[in-house]
């Protein structure tokens, strides 16, 4: 089985291998960016490569799913060759397991190499990343999905999804399209609904202080949003104002009047008065029991989150493979 799988897989493997080689050649030719926290920032070119690398790592699993996964069963059915290969002395269950195992392994290797390559090149940039730039933290969503081991898990999942759609739809082009759509929808959903809750996020609750609270206006009047300084090196999920009972609420309406007695169009001149009045406002806020809460995933959890998410995607991939086997047995 392995020989046949490798023989049939040869062209697709060469195509993706060539793609990887081309990316490697470009990144090696360009060289790693020279940046320091103090010194010169990212050049325009380096910035382009940096973001292209992140985008490419997010797209790569989809390519694996659509081009390696989706044709796996359907191409045989379309060409009728399933009636040749399933009538040798190998059950179709073993046939599919052998094929998915070999190609999934190739997907792991290819994505792993790609991820390593991009992480290596972007290393200097990642090293100087802070909340305030010049690059995003590795814990933040877009970077998180393009570093570490999760791209490999995405690729295995996308591949299993492609195989399942292949066995279900039995036609290559629809299977490719459905795989791409489902994978994209799943990734977007998982990003907003799953990853923040993979581990219970940390919460930091404290009183607002006049010194470091920033204001955010949803419109031109009350209520205004009060934002506490966020914890360092964290992926901030939510910033809320809590009332005395601990329920999330909007900031009290009087706070706007208190801070901006003349309205936004009529700002008060800065001065000792201004500061005193501000502090009085915040004292009243504290007295009425209002507090701020920041919900976040700290950077220290990077690898825990990476492995947890990897385990989740691999479990889903196993489930999809089970479906693929089930659907393959129903093909005639």
């Amino acid at each position: 089985m392995t020989w046949l799988t490798l023989r049939q897989f040869r062209l697709s493997a060469i195509a993706v291998g060539a793609l990887l080689a081309a990316v490697a050649a470009v990144l090696l030719t360009v060289g790693r960016p020279v940046v320091t926290a103090a010194g010169p920032g990212l050049t325009t070119d380096d910035s382009t490569y940096y973001y292209l690398g992140i985008v490419a790592l997010h797209v790569f699993p989809a390519i694996i799913g659509a081009f390696w996964g989706a044709p796996l069963v359907s191409r045989e059915v379309e060409n009728g060759t399933h009636r040749l290969v399933w009538n040798q002395s190998v059950t179709r269950t073993r046939w599919l397991i052998a094929k998915t195992a070999v190609v999934a392994l190739a997907a792991v290797v290819a994505t792993g190499l790609f991820s390593l390559l991009v992480s290596w090149w972007a290393g200097p940039v990642d090293a100087i990343a802070t909340e305030n730039g010049p690059a995003a933290l590795r814990i933040e969503p877009m970077i998180f999905g393009a570093r570490g081991v999760v791209p490999i898990a995405y690729a295995v999942f996308a591949f299993a999804l492609g195989v399942a759609m292949s066995a279900l739809l039995r036609r290559t082009v629809p299977a490719m399209a459905v795989t791409l759509v489902l994978f994209t929808v799943f990734q977007v959903t998982a990003l907003s609904l799953v990853r923040p809750n993979l581990l219970p996020p940390e919460q930091q609750v404290q009183q607002f202080s006049a010194d470091d609270t920033t204001f955010y206006f949803a419109g031109t009047g009350p209520p205004l949003e009060l934002l506490m300084p966020v914890p360092e090196h964290s992926w901030v999920l939510e910033q809320q104002t809590l009332d005395r009972a601990g329920n999330p609420v909007a900031s009290p309406a009087w706070m706007f009047e208190c801070l901006f007695p003349g309205g936004l169009d009529n700002p008060q001149p800065p001065g000792p008065d201004f500061r005193e009045r501000n502090e009085a406002c915040f004292d009243r806020l504290a007295a009425e029991g209002y507090q701020g809460r920041v919900t976040h995933q700290p950077d220290s959890r990077f690898w825990t989150l990476q492995w947890t998410e990897t385990a989740l995607y691999l479990a889903l991939a196993a489930l999809l493979t089970w479906f693929a086997l089930h659907w393959t047995r129903r093909i005639s």
């Binding site: 089985m1 049939q8 009728g80 060759t81 009538n87 040798q88 002395s89």
Partner: protein, 296 residues
């Protein structure tokens, strides 16, 4: 005696349509069976069920005493070449043989190589560039070289010109004789069946209407010609398959085990083609069907 194919109440339904219904058959081992019938009568369905490509909706089927497709051992016992004789267009002839060798523990490499040589196939040729006949031969080679007990061939000669068809069948018969493999061969050409088969199964409208050893079938069917007469007045053991009346004359095709003794009849032999056509023409017989003959 073991049967190479045994079916009991076998039926297969696709959506709303029964492709095969109430099929009961028992074919002894080592036969060369011709499966005939019009298009859509259920020939491919029956072969697909026997190969284990599909599962029955009702009833059961056994091939070489095993449930089709139940495992590697069962798959090894059955060779199946489907209607379109599929091959991998991108793989060469030699690679197809390698595929066969890798996927079949009982692979007969000498047999495969010998056949390919004898047929004049270039081992380095891609299957996509072979002619229809060559592709059919390659698919058959893989089917034979896995050394099955039963070879199921679905319209193997449909794509071939008459000359290639004759060669293919001749070659098939030589292989069958050499290795003692049982064959079920579907075809809509009765001449092909007559040339190579010793057993016949006729399907019409998803049902078996005639089954048995061809010699027996020919011996028990007679064409009777005589003065016009109502077929209902025949002896009870003579079953009328078809009846044609003119003003003065009646021609009957009857099936009977006993000799025809009525001197009013001129008794004639029936050719296999006429026999099959008679069954294809006649509406589903209400009288006990000859198909039941193979039952015990």
């Amino acid at each position: 005696m073991t049967a190479m194919l045994r079916a009991r109440g076998l039926g297969k339904k696709y959506r709303q349509r029964w492709a095969l219904s109430d099929c009961t058959l028992e074919i002894p081992a080592g036969r060369v069976v011709g499966l005939v019938g019009p298009n859509g009568a259920g020939k491919s369905t029956l072969l697909g069920l026997a190969a284990g490509m599909t599962t029955p909706t009702t009833g059961e089927i056994e091939v070489c005493d095993g449930r089709p497709g139940s495992g590697p051992a069962q798959l090894a016992k059955v060779g199946f070449v489907s209607q379109d004789t599929p091959t991998y267009a991108g793989l060469t002839v030699a690679e197809h043989l390698r595929l066969g060798a890798r996927l079949n523990p009982g692979w007969d490499a000498d047999l495969a190589r010998g056949r390919v040589e004898r047929l004049g196939l270039d081992p380095s040729q891609r299957a996509g560039r072979l002619s229809g006949g060559q592709r059919a031969q390659l698919a058959l080679t893989i089917g034979i070289a896995k050394r099955p007990e039963v070879l199921l061939l679905d319209e193997p000669v449909a794509a071939l010109d008459p000359l290639a068809r004759r060669g293919f069948l001749q070659d098939l018969m030589e292989t069958v004789a050499e290795h003692g493999v049982g064959v079920v061969l579907s075809s809509h050409l009765i001449t092909d069946v007559e040339r190579v088969c010793d057993h016949l199964v006729t399907l019409v409208d998803s049902r078996v209407v005639l089954a048995g050893e061809i010699d027996d079938l020919l011996d028990t069917h007679h064409r009777l010609t005589g003065p016009r007469r109502d077929p209902a007045t025949l002896p009870a053991d003579q079953h009328v398959v078809t009846a044609v009346h003119t003003d003065r004359q009646t021609t009957l095709l009857v099936r009977t085990e006993s000799p025809i003794i009525d001197p009013a009849w001129t008794v004639g032999k029936v050719s296999l083609e006429d026999l099959v056509l008679a069954y294809l023409d006649s509406p589903a017989p209400a009288t006990p069907r000859p198909a039941l003959e193979v039952l015990r």
